[in-house]
Symmetry: C2
Subunit: 385 residues, 2 copies
C-alpha cells in the first residue's frame, strides 16, 4: 500500500509543489511544462503590475478591453465577469422577471447547471431542448439561451443556430449565446460565424478555454443590454476585477487562432504515436488521456499486483513530473482528484515541448513505473519526497 488516506494524497500534492517550486527557482519557469489544461492564463506583463496599482490602470485596461473584446466577439460593447456562470446569472437577473421563462437550446442535453440554477433563483421557469422539432417559445418566454458548443466540444449545427435565432427574433425575445468554448471552436475549427454576426443579442465566452486567459466570462452584445446586465453584476459583485480584466486584455492580444488548429493536428498525430507505446490512450477535445484502468491494463494486464490503479496512475504522474517536468492533475490535484492522466495540447506550455519529448516521457515513465513497483521504498520516495 502506497497511498492509504487523503492525508497521504495531501502529502503527495505537497511533494509535487515542493518539486515544482525547486524547478522554478533553479531552472526557471521555462523548464516546467504544465499540460494540466487547468492552469488558466494570467499573461499580464511585469510592467502592467505598476499600472494596476493606480486608479487609472484599470480604466486603461477597460478601454483596451472594449477594443480587443469587440474584435474577438463582435457586438457594440463588452463587459467582463468573474466567471461565465456569473455572467449568466447577471443576464437572467437583468432580463428575466420572476414568473417568466428561460428556454435553452443546446447540441445535446443536459445543460450546464448554471443556466437552470440561475433561472430557478430568479423564480423563472426553465425548459431545455436539443431538438428543433420540439423547440417552441411560450407567451412567458423572455430569454432564449443557445449553447454554441458543449463541454465535450459538441457543436451546434449552423442550421439549428440560425433557426433558433430566427424564431426568437420573430417573437422579439432576446437571444444569449453561451459560447464558453464555442466562440473559438465554432469559428476557428468549424468556420461558423461569430454569434453576434448571426444575429444574437448577447454572447458570453470563457477566457480560459482554448485561449490563454484567466478563468472569467467575457460578454459582448448590444450596448443597452450590456449596460443593464453590468448594472446587475455590480449590485451582486459579479463583475471581473481590474487585474483579471488586464489578464483578459493581454490574452486576447496574444490570441492566435492558428494555435488551436495546430493543436488539433498535433493531437491526432501524437495520439497515434503515443498509442504505439501505451495502448489504452484516448483522444480528448484538445489532447489525449489515459485512464487509470487503461494504465493498469498496460502495466499489469493480469491485475494481480499489490497496487491499486490509483496508486499506479499517481506514480506515473509523479514520474512524469519529476523526470520530465510534465505537470498533470494526478500529481498536483487535491485528494480524491481524477486519476486519469490528461495532456492538454492547447495549454500554453504545450508549445515549448515537442512530440518526441512527450512520446519519450510517456514511454520511459511507463518503464520507470514498472521498475518502481517491486521497490516500495523507492516508490514512496517518488510519491512523497
Amino acid at each position: 500500500m502506497l497511498i492509504c488516506s487523503s492525508l497521504d494524497e495531501m502529502k503527495r500534492r505537497e511533494a509535487a509543489f515542493r518539486f515544482i517550486a525547486t524547478v522554478m527557482n533553479q531552472e526557471g519557469r521555462s523548464s516546467l511544462y504544465d499540460l494540466s489544461g487547468l492552469a488558466g492564463g494570467f499573461p499580464v506583463k511585469k510592467s502592467d503590475l505598476n499600472l494596476l496599482e493606480t486608479y487609472s490602470g484599470p480604466a486603461i485596461f477597460s478601454s483596451n478591453l472594449q477594443k480587443v473584446g469587440t474584435r474577438h466577439l463582435g457586438g457594440d460593447k463588452v463587459a467582463a465577469f468573474n466567471r461565465t456562470s456569473a455572467a449568466i446569472l447577471a443576464t437572467i437577473l437583468a432580463l428575466v422577471k420572476p414568473g417568466e421563462e428561460v428556454i435553452h437550446y443546446l447540441p445535446e442535453l443536459p445543460s450546464h447547471p448554471s443556466i437552470p440554477r440561475s433561472a430557478k433563483l430568479q423564480g423563472a421557469s426553465y425548459r431545455e431542448f436539443d431538438n428543433l422539432q420540439d423547440f417552441q417559445l411560450a407567451e412567458k418566454t423572455s430569454l432564449v439561451v443557445i449553447t454554441g458548443s458543449t463541454m465535450d466540444h459538441q457543436v451546434l449545427s449552423l442550421n439549428d443556430f440560425q433557426s433558433i435565432i430566427q424564431i426568437s427574433q420573430e417573437n422579439q425575445v432576446p437571444v444569449m449565446v453561451d459560447d464558453a468554448s464555442g466562440a473559438r471552436i465554432r469559428t476557428v475549427i468549424y468556420n461558423q460565424p461569430r454569434a453576434m454576426d448571426m444575429g444574437a443579442d448577447l454572447v458570453v465566452t470563457s477566457t480560459d478555454k482554448l485561449m490563454d486567459g484567466p478563468r472569467a466570462g467575457l460578454m459582448a452584445g448590444k450596448s443597452s443590454l450590456i449596460d443593464r446586465i453590468q448594472d446587475k453584476a455590480h449590485q451582486f459583485g459579479l463583475e471581473a476585477q481590474p487585474p483579471i480584466v488586464a489578464g483578459i486584455v493581454r490574452a486576447l492580444e496574444n490570441f492566435k487562432p492558428q494555435r488551436i488548429l495546430d493543436s488539433l493536428e498535433r493531437r491526432d498525430k501524437l495520439h497515434k504515436k503515443v498509442g504505439n507505446v501505451l495502448e489504452g490512450v484516448e483522444k480528448t477535445p484538445t489532447g489525449f488521456m489515459i485512464t487509470a484502468a487503461n494504465l493498469e491494463k498496460e502495466i499489469n494486464p493480469d491485475g494481480n499486483e499489490n497496487l491499486t490503479k490509483r496508486e499506479l496512475a499517481t506514480l506515473m504522474a509523479m514520474v512524469l513530473l519529476k523526470e520530465y517536468h510534465l505537470v498533470t492533475i494526478p500529481a498536483v490535484g487535491m485528494p480524491g482528484v481524477s486519476d486519469t492522466i490528461r495532456l492538454d495540447l492547447s495549454s500554453n506550455d504545450a508549445e515549448r515541448v515537442d512530440d518526441t519529448q512527450i512520446i519519450q516521457a510517456m514511454k520511459e515513465s511507463l518503464e520507470l513505473v514498472r521498475e518502481l513497483i517491486p521497490d516500495e521504498e523507492a516508490s514512496l520516495s517518488v510519491l512523497y519526497e
Copy 2:
C-alpha cells in the same frame, strides 16, 4: 465655458491618462502619487506572475491564504470572494431558505443595499435595526447580520455587538458580521476584539479597505459553514480567482496596523494645516476633501466668474496632477464623476509624499488656478492636452 459635454469630460480623462502614462514611462511609478483612495492594491510580486501561470500556483496561494487569512480574521477557515457583496449573496443563498428571514443590526440605518437585495433574491424577508430595544428575532429568522462599521466609519458599540451575538446564540441562529472596513477600524482604532473572537459564526471583510489589497471579500468562520458557502459561491461564479487570491495574500502579508493609526494622526495634523490655505477643507474618515462649492467660495467668493464650480474643481485636480503628480478623482474619473477633491492618506502612495509637499501642492495649485481662470487658452491646454 471650458467643459461643455460628457465628451469633453472623456477628453479630460484621456488627457489625464496620457499624462500619467508619460510620467510612469519617463520617471517611473514612484514619481506618481495616487491619493484617490480608489486604486485598490495588487501587490503581487513579479516572481508571483510565473507561478500564477501554473496549476500549482493558485493552490500554493490558497494554502497561504488560509494561514494569513485566519491570522487576520480568526476562525477555522477562510474563503475569498470576488467582492464582499458576492460573499454576502453566497452566504444568504447557503444559509437562508425562501420564506425565512434575515435580520440586520447596524450602527446607523439604512443598510448597504447588498444585504436586503440578496435576501429578496432568495425570497427571504428582511428587517433592519439600529436600536437594541427594537431588535427581536422571529421564529423564521435564520441569519443575523451585524455591520461592524458603516461606510462613514461609524462603529458599533461593543455592548450592542455582544448583546446581538448573545441573543442570536440563545436562539441558535448563526451570526455573520459584515466587517468590510470594521475588521481593521474596530480592532486597530477602537481596540475591539475581532468578530470571530466575540463569538460570531462568520465575518467578511473588504480587502481594499484600510489595507492595500484588491477589491475582494475575505470571509472567515467555522469550517462547516465556510464549506457550504463556498459551494454556493462556486455554483454561481462568486469566488475570487487565483490572481486576486495572490493579491490578497500579499496584501495581508504587508498589512501593518500602525499605518492606519499613523494616517489618522497625520490626517488630523494635515487637515489643520491645509485649512490655513484652503478654508473649506473637511475631514474624511481617512483623509480630507474640498467640495467644488467650497473651492468656488475660496477662489471666487462672489460667484460672478464665468466658470462653473465643476470647471474650477476639474482645473484644480488637473493642476494637482500635472504640476504635483497627485492623482485625484476629478482628474481621472468618468464623465459625471464627483467634483469633490479627496486626498486619501491611507492610500499606499501616501507614505511616499510628505506633508510639506501636500500643503505646497494645494497652496500653489490654488494660486495657479486663480492665474489660469482669465486665460481660456491656457486653461483648455491644462484640461485637454
